[in-house]
Subunit: 229 residues, 2 copies
């Protein structure tokens, strides 16, 4: 029988999290990016990251970073994957876990964002990013699309009250394609996921579109596929 290696005398690693923060504003899916403040790569655009402490989980580290930057807590956030190429960070061996988060841009703390020298960029037109952050964004976008195909992501990205047209435009921008208004409405309403309010948004049309809010997740029909990828 072959023996396993003991805990002592093993190599230890710097562990970080990097947050891919998605938001939605003026009909566009956007990403919160930062001017890096330390070498290497100082002055270039990057995701916001943070070190993982010994007494927390990586999820908690990501929540901590998100709170620090946006002032928001209890936000949808999901692990993307681990990035661990030995030379990925020229500053040293750092293993980083990417997370993506979905927030309502209107509700976050803009002063904090300014404080950190951050900017919202449309995902359709991103600058070059340092290290492997571009790959983190690509993987996050793929995950977001997958999630949006069987889950209503509007809950996280839209304000509390929204119209079906706004939800459709959000989906248009996530998938970079135009969904048929009638069919989109039919499918979304068949999920029984939201309630219609007695208010209309007349900004976009003469007739006006009803506002909706989401029902609690437990009450909706979860077995419906929104987009067939």
């Amino acid at each position: 029988m072959v023996s396993q290696q003991e805990y002592g005398s093993q190599e230890k690693h710097l562990l970080a999290v990097d947050c891919v923060i998605f938001g939605y504003e003026s009909g566009e899916l956007k990403l919160l990016l930062f001017k890096r403040q330390l070498e290497p790569g100082k002055g270039n655009w990057s995701l916001i990251g943070g070190w993982v402490d010994t007494l927390e989980t990586v999820e908690q580290a990501a929540e901590r970073v998100l709170l620090k930057i946006t002032g928001l807590s209890r936000i949808f956030q999901e692990e993307v994957s681990v990035f661990s190429a030995p030379d990925r960070d020229p500053g040293g061996r750092v293993v980083s876990i990417a997370f993506y988060a979905l927030i309502d841009i209107k509700s976050h703390n803009k002063e904090l964002v300014n404080l950190y020298d951050a900017k919202w960029w449309p995902v359709s037109n991103l600058p070059d990013l340092i290290f492997d952050h571009g790959q983190m964004v690509d993987e996050s976008l793929a995950k977001l699309r997958k999630k949006a195909s069987y889950d209503l992501v509007g809950r996280d990205l839209l304000p509390d009250e929204f119209t079906l047209t706004q939800l459709r435009q959000l989906y248009n921008s996530i998938f970079s394609q135009e969904f048929d208004p009638g069919n989109f409405r039919k499918k979304i309403l068949s999920m029984d996921a939201m309630v219609r309010l007695n208010k209309k948004d007349t900004g976009e049309s003469k007739k006006g579109a009803f506002y909706y809010t989401f029902k609690p997740e437990s009450e909706m029909n979860v077995a419906i596929r929104i987009i067939n990828m």
Copy 2:
């Protein structure tokens, strides 16, 4: 402007990988488990793991572990997620990344498996596992089901030559449900993913079932959903 923290003086972490190794044998989906050889938890069943070195990626660490145990390389393997509860391992702070792998049980090195005191367990009847390894298995199974729903996983789990009945039974055991033979055949063949050989397996029926082999992945119709979960 708020400044970011320097690389120096950060806490470092022990980093490990744990491998959830799936195989398929006598009509059952199985999992390779190990009798743990060191404290804490010595003698209990666990996944096989290994430490991550400074000069490798976590994927390479997982491949290294898989090769050591099974003698196999170039195996399908995918990251599941990061497990980082500070107290998950009573032996100390270890952050572990779970991977799941799919192998053809027939083709692996049984002597190596014996050497490491390992055993194939049917997933329908697993023993208690140490630490959070049970959760790793649950997440891996969920990932495997999701993958199997849009991808033919037979390529990795079955021998080179197999019958449609064997492929269906593999799917039955992955999803713990009986798929209709006619409809399963119709859907699988519509993917145009395999070629029929001029050989029959007459073990199961008088008529005999044709053997098939997989075409290269590039040639198959990838847009077909196998199982609607």
